[in-house]
Structure formats: C-alpha cells, structure tokens
Symmetry: none
Subunit: 443 residues, 2 copies
Amino acid sequence: MSPIFCPGNRAGENFCLDIYGSMIYTRAMKAIILSIGDELILGQTVDTNSAWLSARLVESGIVPEYHQTVPDELVAIVEAFKAASTGADLVIATGGLGPTADDLTRQAMAALAGAKLILHGPSLKKIERFFRKIGRKMPAGNRIQAMIPEGGMVLYNPVGTAPGFCCSVGKAKIMALPGVPKEMKVMFDRHVLPVVKAGNRRRVLTQRLNVFGLGESMVAAKLGKMMARDRNPLVGTTVSGGIVSVRIRGEFEKNKKGIPEMRKTVAEVRRLLGDYIFSEADASFAEVVGELLLARNRTLATAESCTGGMLGSMITEVPGSSRYYLGGWVVYSNQMKTQNISVPGDMIRREGAVSAEVARKMAEGALMKAKADYALAITGIAGPKGGTRKKKVGTVWIALAEKKTAGCAVYAEKFLFPGDRAMIRDRAAKMALNILRLRLMRN
Amino acid sequence: MSPIFCPGNRAGENFCLDIYGSMIYTRAMKAIILSIGDELILGQTVDTNSAWLSARLVESGIVPEYHQTVPDELVAIVEAFKAASTGADLVIATGGLGPTADDLTRQAMAALAGAKLILHGPSLKKIERFFRKIGRKMPAGNRIQAMIPEGGMVLYNPVGTAPGFCCSVGKAKIMALPGVPKEMKVMFDRHVLPVVKAGNRRRVLTQRLNVFGLGESMVAAKLGKMMARDRNPLVGTTVSGGIVSVRIRGEFEKNKKGIPEMRKTVAEVRRLLGDYIFSEADASFAEVVGELLLARNRTLATAESCTGGMLGSMITEVPGSSRYYLGGWVVYSNQMKTQNISVPGDMIRREGAVSAEVARKMAEGALMKAKADYALAITGIAGPKGGTRKKKVGTVWIALAEKKTAGCAVYAEKFLFPGDRAMIRDRAAKMALNILRLRLMRN
C-alpha cells in the first residue's frame, strides 16, 4: 500500500506526526489558478490540472480564490496575469510552455513585466541532451523552451525538457508550470509546495479511505451524521471510476492536538463501512491485492473474456507484480477458451459463454495450466450489442479458483453492471480483484 | 472510424457540407463561461461543464473569451458576473441553483442587478409535484428554487426540479443553468443554443488528424509555416498519451467558400506527416486497426509480457472486436512463455526474456496456437526496476508474425521508450498497434 501522502517527509522536514496524513502550518495565503491553452478554451480537453492543484492547496489549508482558463493568446494571458497578480499572493499558471508558436506563457509574462526573454544555458543543454539521447537533432523551435523572462527564476523540470519559471509582480509570485499533468504535478511538489509552506499558521490533517461496492448515496447513508457540514474533522465523499473516496479533513489551531480527533473520526468511518473500505490514500486495488498475495506467498493467474486483458493490465500496473502474478489468457473467442484452458465446447454451446459453468471452468483451467494458487476468471456481455432479454448487457460472471490439497475450490458470482462498455469492463475487473481481496483477507 | 462530428445534423439542419467538419454561420458573439461551486474550487470535482459548453459554442463558431470558476460565496459570484458582463454578450453560468444554503447564484444575480427575488408560481408547483410523486413533503428549503431575480426570465428545466434564469446586465445576457451535467446539457440546447444561433454570420470548419511516433516539436518542425498563428485555416497541435493531435480550424465569412481552403490545408498536413497520421477525429488506434483487419478479413492474436494485457484491453475497447480479435496470452512469467506459446526455455536463459528472439517466438507461438492471421508480441522492461546497463528500463521488443502459405513471416523491432512504468507500457501497446497498422496498409 502506498504510504499516506506526507509533504513534511517528502520535503525532508519533520512535522509529519503519524500515518494519519499530511500536517502543515499555513498562513492565510491567497492563491489563484490559471490554465492556459486553446485546447481547453475550445473544449477539446477537460482541465484536470485546476482541480488537482486546488486539492493540493486545500490540503495545505489554502482555498483558491478562483480558477481561470484563457486561450493561447498573448493579450488574454497578460490580462489574466495582471488581474490575478493584483488579487493574490500566489498565482499558479499551467500550460503554454511548449515549443510551438501557440505557446505564449513566457512571452506574456515578459510583456507584463516589461522584461525581455533571456536564454538559460543549462536548460538549453538539457533539452539538447534529451534530443541527442533519442538520436535526433533538436528542432530549432525548442530553443524557446530554455528562455525565461529576465529577472525571473528558472524552475527545474525533473521529468520533462522544458523548465518552468517564477516571476514576481508586485507582491504576487507568478509560478508557471507545464500543462502536461505529469510534469505539472512533480513541479508543484518541488517548487510550489515549499512556497506554500513558508510561514504556516494552521494545521490541516487529511486522510482518505477508498470504498468499492457501494454507491455514493449508500456510503452517505451509512455515514449519516458523520457527514454534517459543520463537523471537524469534516467528512466528505467523492466518486471516480466506481470507487467512492471518503475524505476526512481536520483543521486545527497550531496549539491544539488534532491527531487524536482525526484518529477517532477515521476509526468511526472504518467501523461504519467495514470491508467496503479496500485501501487508504492512493493505493489501488491491484496494489492491495498484490500485498495480500505477497504476504501469504501465493500466486495468481487470470482468464479474461469481456475484459480482454484489462484485469491483467491492472494487476501488472504494480511494479514487482511478477513476484505473484504468473500471467493469463485472453480467451476472447470460444475456440481460445476450449483449446487453451480446457473449457468444454459443448458446455459453451449448452450454457452460453456467459454462464456460471464457463466462468468456473475458465478459472479452474487457468489455475491448473498456470499452476497458480489462485485464478480469477471473467466472462460477460460488455455491449453495446450482444445482450438478450435473459442475459442483458452488463451481465458478468466472475469466478475465483483456489488450489486445495486435492484439486481446487471454485467460487462464482453473477453481476449486472450499469453503464457503457468501458464502465462495465472496468467494474468487472475491479470486482474480480475485490472478490480475491475479500477471500485473501479471510485466509 | 467514427464520423466527424457534424452539429448541423445534430440540430436537424442541413448546412453540413462534407466530411471536413462542422459548418455553422455565426456572428462574432463574445461569450464567457462561469462555473460556480465549492466542490470545484476545493478540487473535489473536475469541471467538465466548461469544456462541454466550450465545445458546443465552438461548433457554433464562438470561441469563449475565458472560463472562470468561483466558490459558493456571494461576493465572488457577484464579482465574476460583473467582470463577465462587461466583457461579453453572453455569460453562461452553471451551478449554485440547488436548495441548500451554499447555493447563491440567484442571490448574486439579484444583488448585481439591484433586484429582489420573486417567486415563480408554476415552478413552485412543479417542485411540490416532484416531492409528492416520490411520497415526500417538499422541504421548506426547496422554495428558493422557484425564485428568480425580478426582471429576469425563467428557463424551464425539463429534466430536473429547479429552473434556470436569464437576466440582462448592460448589453450582456447572463444565463444561469444548473451544475448537474445532465440538466445543464438539456437546458443549453433548449435555451442557450437559440440565443447563440440568432444572427449568425461566420462559418467555422474544424478537422483533427492524430499522429503517433513523432513528438510534438517534430510535428511542428514538419508542419513549419503551416502553424503560423495568423494563418486561416489555423493549424495547432495538442498532445495526450503520446498521440499528437493536429487541429485545423478555419473561420470564413458567410459569402466565402471555406471548404476548398480546408481541404487544401488538410491535404497539405497529410502530405507533410504521411503515415504518421493514423486517424481522424476521435478514432482510436484500436478502431483503425480493427477496421483494417475487418476490411481484409484477417484475425489477430496477442502475446504480452510487460504490458500484461493492456494491448488486448485496448483492442477489445472497440465494440465488435470479437470479429477479428481471437484473444491472447499474458505470459508474465517465463514458465508461461514456455508452456503456452512454445518459447524455448534455453532461449530465454541465453538471450533473456527481453530479446528479439523471444519476442519473435512469442509472436510465432501466439499465431500458431490461436490459428490467427497476425499476432503481436510485446516483451520489455517497464521498470522502475529490472533495467541493466545493456538493457535499460524502457527497452521493449515488439514482434509481428504474419501467416504465410507455408509457416509465417516475423518482423521484430526494438524500442527505447521514455517515461515511467505506465508510460512505457502505454507506448509499447500503441506502438504494437501502429506496427500492425502500417503492415496492414501495405497489404
């Protein structure tokens, strides 16, 4: 399980008290988030950066004043910078740092500050090195990525070629980061978080518990008064990809001990939701299941039909998954089911490929063929076509086979998942992992 | 391949001329999009409404000036309304129309207009009827949902309880819609679109070409002066998941024919980027490859090591992929490679699991076992561990086996993908599909 995010540790500081979350002292800093890009203004891309940045700022006790999104136009960016820098101490801008002619964040900053763009030698060397490494000559256009407004500070980019920059306008700091989420996130942690931390005053503790198998309103019903808006720690829920995250957030004066209160709230949420909680913080299903398998020294194989490899792909997202995952079969055609994992052809004809019998045989076949301790099998109708009145789109059989001293034990369960093809496949793969998780927890 | 989006068809009108994109006549209306809600400002929810609204406006020839997101605070909403109404003809606001104390859009509008809130009888009746229907008494708090600023217009909500409203401030129209996407979308089409359409004057044509195998700056270098910011049609690029999308957008006076100019630009981009372009509009790699296989009546199997099923999962994202995809093997362990798709154990020991030989044998084994026409195999080091000086993290061998009258032909290529585990796996799966695409195009 990944550790709970703790910026104190990460930054090498020493005020993170325990696993219950991050702990930061902040003064009431005013922050504004700007997103720059035609693809956002044209509605071609959904801006996820602003929400991510907001959540990180809120963890540190700062609620942003507003978000604004502007197109790749010099005047629009300058105007947004100007307005934001009069209304905030910290302006976080993302996007517009690419190498092409429509990337204008640097130029806008220079125009606002009345400064010229100057070349930063080490950054240029880094970009040239990158292109050499992949065996190409740096296109001339990339040179602009090594330039920043005079008087500004270069923000090193450890995961991409282009640096960001930081400029002061009046009493505001404008920090410009790349728009690519992966680069933006690393650079936020590296460059922006230390600025946010300077001069802390309040203490914010956060924790997140992830729930699967219950809808958001069912979670809310189970949590009841715990979710009152005037409670501290505050308990809220968000939902994404079928996973309901219960977010707990306590704000305390620096002289008050918040940890015991956080502990109490977390314990109460755990009591109310029980096994529905599968992980904390960012730990995924596959990580949790992987840890359980490792701890018990057990191996896993898979046999997938409608998910087409998604279950195997989820399992192998985890580094080191080769220690417990042997592999699997994508038996999309019936012939693949019969010839590779011994599902009898007449059984498929008699019961249908989406049936308890076939799911069980798939799990059993995978278990035997791979010589694994556990095998998961999924067969279902992901749609949009292929449903019948008896077997609707969304019908999925999931089976779990477990090696026993003699032979194996097989458990199978039928589900009817709502949503479209992508959602049905995603939920089926997660549900298979959940079935294994619950089984492993009892072993 | 999915058809190019054509709003003319969607609206039941008849001015979409050909596959080169949407085509609408609009006057140069200035529009601003506001999102209202603490959940957005706190980063608990990603704002998808703004992108959706933008895309719909752009289809109608209007590029929004900016998006802004503000919290559920009276002053912040009033300020945002004030600024937007001085900078635009049309302000579309979403959110803040719920029944609870933190829903303040109505009050903010009233405060800005210096008007009081008045009750709209029919709306109140509708809300009361809703609660009667679900067997509950209307909570007193819901009464506010039937109130709108005096002088404003009620916008009927056909899919929810709360109406929206429209108020004029100076020469700007402020139209307030619910934040729930489902209600917002229906109400946009019903109330906002007619306003947008009134008095159209310009024509906007759009097209998107998707590129794989070239970085964004290389694409820009190849496109050269085509990307000049003052060009019409305008050519821009965005990148996501290793795919560079070239976006072409032409704006024309109503009396000028834009289609030939769009055609010319699209043809020129196609000439400059050639086979690197793998699809148009929203068509994914898997869809393109699926269409090519279907057209040639060929079948496909897969053998995956480091991607762990991701390639199969991508292929089966496409509805109807069972017509050409037979299935595959996730041969994560060496034993799985040897026992299932006949990769000799001594070859793995001699050459290593990540080698040309093993990739070729994997593809060949999958082809033979599945009796497929083509088989793709992937074996690599996805990291973060497992790299050596000779075989760095990111090293991936991809092989393509093709059935011949006698036996098969196998092609293999080595790649060094940058990035983290997730990126290496994603690029490897896409590259495998790209290799097959290029092969199929030549057959």
